[in-house]
Structure formats: structure tokens, C-alpha cells
């Protein structure tokens, strides 16, 4: 009986494969690994923990990032050369590709899934594209003073088809409302010196911009933006000399766990802990380098931290109950990025200089798999499709 059923299932699968070119399947356990040196991406499956396709022709992928269509089928890949590529994860191919500007570092997708926005360093500003066709809809140049354009950082979507971002050179937070995608309206809020990245909280209410030029984080309440941005964590360095920062921290994919936010300090080897009800500092946790990514496991019990050069072979794991790092290890060379499986039983890590992606069990810290990849950097799973701020 069992064998008959198996046989039947196998036939059905063959039939589907023959007919439709492939089996029907969902995309909830799929994802993409960027291979920055070769301009390729590897498509992966987080259930089988295997790579299932490799795609090239995506241009310069150093620092590339990815957002997903709300059905989790299409990945929008933003490349350094301004390339914006739409990749079909099921058919494993590029379906559209445009060159949108000289120098993009990331993007985001609107609440309704219809607008993809790219953020650019030069010429500084954001550009909105139709998610279906990649047709250019509109752009907002980051001209913060007459003739002066700023690099844009920290672009994130927020409810109401709005996008929030910060101006590195302009020191402001901007909110662009794309209710009319061809004629966005923008509000500006002074933020502080040299915002280097930003994020929207998982509930979509607050935008935080980390500041490089001064100690502190600027925060804008998107429910009452008319109150303007204010500063939190001011003077967290307490006037001490900063350590040099060999790589800028990233805030997106940041951590809120148990009512507390965990943020990288700039120029110190610490993770700052903030109460999200009061936005006051409630602690700081020493770690073994300048934090780059500080990411909470989806259940919030652990926060994993990687580091800037020269400590980029190390990882620390903070137990949020204990309030300190409980695990310190060296999983590989050049740890650039990490992504949790949708419910957090595994963490995928890219070890750039080992040319592989490691899959680590988050309960026992055992390596449960690895995938070969040429200089892997970003790892992006389709679970991002449903998250606010991505």
C-alpha cells in the first residue's frame, strides 16, 4: 500500500514536471545568497538546506541587497552598479533587469507590494519603480540645500505606502508618501550629524537613524511625525575617544526582543540595550569587536552579533534572558551576513573568505550544513516578504 502510494506520488510528480516544466510549490522556505565577487546569486531552500540554482548576469553585487514581492516569488536585487534585477525564484531566472542609477546600495518595497524603491548614493536620492514592470514611476532627489545632494541611507518602508530614509550628508530624515506613486510628497525632519543607516521598528511606528558624527540615535515617531525627530542614547560614549570603525554597522534586520532593542554602538565594542517603551538605555553588553549586524532570533531569546574588520571571523551570541554574551566562537573567515530560518532553528552565515555559507543550529551551536559559494555576502530569505520595514 505504502509503496503503491509512493509510486503514485512519484508518477504524479513526474507528470507535473513533464507538463508544467516543474512541480507546483510554495516559496516560504526559499531564499537567495549573494556571491559578490562573481555577480551571481545562489538560490537556496531552507527545508532541504541545499542550493537549488545559480543565476548570473546581475552585475556588481558588492553590498547588494534584496527585497521580496509579497507572494515571495520574486526577488528584487539592488546592485552596486545601479542594476535592479527581478528574479523569479520558482523558475530560477531573471525576468527583468534595469540600470537605474550610478550607485545603489539598497531598496525597499511598499506595503501594497506595487512599488519598489531604490536608494542611491550618487546621484543621491530615491527612485520608485513599478514592481510589475520595473518602469520608473518617480524620483525624489536628496537635494538638502540648493545644488547639494546627499547620499541616502536606511531606506525602509512604512505603512501607507510611505518610505522613510536618512540623508548622510544632509543630516535629516525624510518621509516620502507614495500614495500617488507618480507624484510623491516628502516631509523633512532634522536628525543629527551623519546618519549612517536606519530602520523601521517591526510595528511600523518608529524610524531610527544611527548617527556617525555624534553619539546617539535619532528617532522619529511616524504616528506623530509633526513632533519631529529627537535624539536617544545621547552621549553613550560619555566623551571617551571612539575606536576606529572599519566597517559601518547595519541596522536593518535589527533586534527587538522582550521589549528591548539591541543596537550596535559606534566606535565601541558594545551592544546598547534600549527599552522600547521609554527609549532609554537600560544596559550595554560588551562584545569582542565593532558590531556590524546585531540580529535577534525570531523568538527573541538570542541576539547574534558579527563584527567589523579585523574581528570579522568572530561571532558572539547574547542570551537575552541572561543579558550577556553566552557564546563566543570563530565560525569562519570574513563573516559578512547572517539570516535566520523563518522560525529561527537555524542561522545561515556567509563566510566570505572560506567561500561558503554555514548553517548553524541555534540551540546547540552545531554546524548542520554548508553550501559552497564564491565570496558570499548577503543572505535573504522570503520570510522578509511579510515584514514591515523591508
Amino acid at each position: 500500500m505504502t509503496s503503491l502510494r509512493t509510486l503514485f506520488a512519484a508518477c504524479a510528480a513526474l507528470f507535473l514536471a513533464a507538463c508544467a516544466g516543474q512541480q507546483l510549490r510554495g516559496t516560504g522556505d526559499l531564499g537567495m545568497v549573494i556571491e559578490r565577487a562573481s555577480g551571481q546569486v545562489t538560490l537556496v531552500n531552507t527545508s532541504s538546506r541545499q542550493a537549488y540554482a545559480r543565476i548570473d548576469g546581475l552585475g556588481d553585487l558588492s553590498h547588494a541587497s534584496v527585497v521580496y514581492s509579497r507572494d515571495g516569488r520574486y526577488a528584487f536585487v539592488f546592485g552596486r552598479d545601479g542594476g535592479l534585477s527581478k528574479v523569479d525564484l520558482l523558475e530560477a531566472k531573471i525576468v527583468k533587469r534595469v540600470i537605474q542609477s550610478g550607485n545603489a546600495i539598497g531598496g525597499s518595497i511598499s506595503q501594497d507590494g506595487r512599488i519598489v524603491v531604490a536608494q542611491n548614493y550618487t546621484p543621491g536620492g530615491i527612485k520608485a519603480f513599478d514592481a510589475e514592470t520595473l518602469e520608473l514611476l518617480s524620483e525624489v532627489p536628496a537635494e538638502y540645500a540648493p545644488g547639494k545632494y546627499s547620499k541616502v541611507v536606511g531606506l525602509a518602508d512604512s505603512p501607507g505606502n510611505k518610505f522613510v530614509y536618512a540623508l548622510f550628508d544632509g543630516g535629516e530624515i525624510w518621509v516620502s508618501d507614495f500614495s500617488n506613486p507618480r507624484a510623491p510628497t516628502t516631509s523633512r525632519y532634522p536628525a543629527g550629524l551623519q546618519p549612517y543607516d536606519g530602520l523601521v521598528t517591526p510595528d511600523g511606528r518608529y524610524f531610527l537613524a544611527g548617527l556617525f558624527g555624534e553619539d546617539g540615535v535619532a528617532i522619529l515617531d511616524l504616528w506623530q511625525p509633526e513632533k519631529g525627530a529627537r535624539k536617544i542614547l545621547e552621549n553613550y560614549g560619555r566623551g571617551q575617544e571612539k575606536l576606529p570603525v572599519f566597517k559601518m554597522p547595519h541596522l536593518r534586520g535589527w533586534s527587538v526582543a522582550q521589549g528591548k532593542a539591541y543596537l550596535p554602538a559606534i566606535g565601541r565594542h558594545e551592544v546598547l540595550v534600549v527599552d522600547v517603551a521609554t527609549w532609554k538605555e537600560v544596559g550595554r553588553i560588551p562584545v569582542r569587536g565593532q558590531p556590524v549586524f546585531v540580529m535577534a532570533r525570531p523568538d527573541g531569546r538570542q541576539v547574534w552579533v558579527n563584527f567589523a574588520f579585523p574581528d570579522n571571523g568572530k561571532m558572539d551570541v547574547i542570551d537575552t534572558l541572561a543579558g550577556k554574551a553566552v557564546r563566543a566562537f570563530e565560525p569562519g573567515k570574513g563573516i559578512l551576513h547572517m539570516e535566520f530560518s523563518p522560525r529561527g532553528e537555524h542561522l545561515w552565515l556567509s563566510a566570505r573568505d572560506d567561500n561558503k555559507v554555514l548553517i548553524i543550529g541555534t540551540e546547540r551551536f552545531d554546524t548542520v550544513g554548508e553550501i559552497a559559494a564564491a565570496s558570499p555576502s548577503g543572505i535573504f530569505f522570503t520570510s522578509r516578504a511579510a515584514r514591515i520595514g523591508f
Binding site: D81, N103, K151, M248, P310
Partner: protein
């Protein structure tokens, strides 16, 4: 901006003598060390300047961008960093002669 260009000018003057030494080529790094430096520039400088050095948070470092800038000043920027900007000092990780070698390579066509 004026503050960083002042610092820049000071450092340029300060290091003009030191980086002159590189021009005599006696201090060129060994081939193995050159490989390490190329990797460092592409990967770790690349996080701000782009792996293809076309710019990012930091400016582009292609020959066309650097051609009118004095090499000594650029060497000083790498070695000492530029206070007040995200450009960090690299002196823990290389000698000044190695920084001068990097500038020299940047001004031609940086090795892959």
C-alpha cells in the same frame, strides 16, 4: 569640510617626506604581501568604497578620480584616516610605505 581639508593639508605636509621613499621603489611589498593588500583593499576598503572602487559611503578611488590629487596626501589619508569623516586610520594594519604602494596602484589600475 574646511576642517577635514585643513587636516588633510597638515597630514600631506607631514608625510611628504616619508612617502617620497616609496618612489625609490626599494620598499615595494613582497608579492605575498601585495596579494594580502589587494585583498584588503577590494574586500575591506570595498565595504565603503565599493569592491570595484566606484564609490559608496566613501568616494570613488579610480585613477580618473585620483589623478589630480597629490599621492602623499592620499597616503596620509589611508595611514592616518580623516578625522570627522568615516575614513578610519589603517596604520595598525600596514606600514606607511604599504599605504603609498596602495595609492600608487590605485592611481594606475588596481589589481583584481
Amino acid at each position: 569640510m574646511s576642517r577635514s581639508s585643513l587636516v588633510f593639508a597638515l597630514f600631506s605636509a607631514f608625510t611628504a617626506a616619508a612617502s617620497g621613499a616609496f618612489a625609490e621603489a626599494s620598499t615595494a611589498p613582497t608579492p605575498a604581501r601585495q596579494k594580502e593588500l589587494v585583498h584588503l583593499v577590494r574586500q575591506d576598503c570595498g565595504s565603503c568604497h565599493g569592491m570595484t572602487l566606484q564609490g559608496g559611503l566613501g568616494p570613488a578611488l579610480l585613477p580618473a578620480d585620483l589623478k589630480d590629487k597629490p599621492a602623499e596626501g592620499l597616503t596620509a589619508t589611508i595611514y592616518y584616516g580623516r578625522p570627522g569623516t568615516p575614513m578610519p586610520p589603517w596604520k595598525q594594519f600596514m606600514t606607511e610605505a604599504e599605504a603609498a604602494w596602495i595609492v600608487d596602484q590605485l592611481m594606475r589600475e588596481f589589481p583584481k
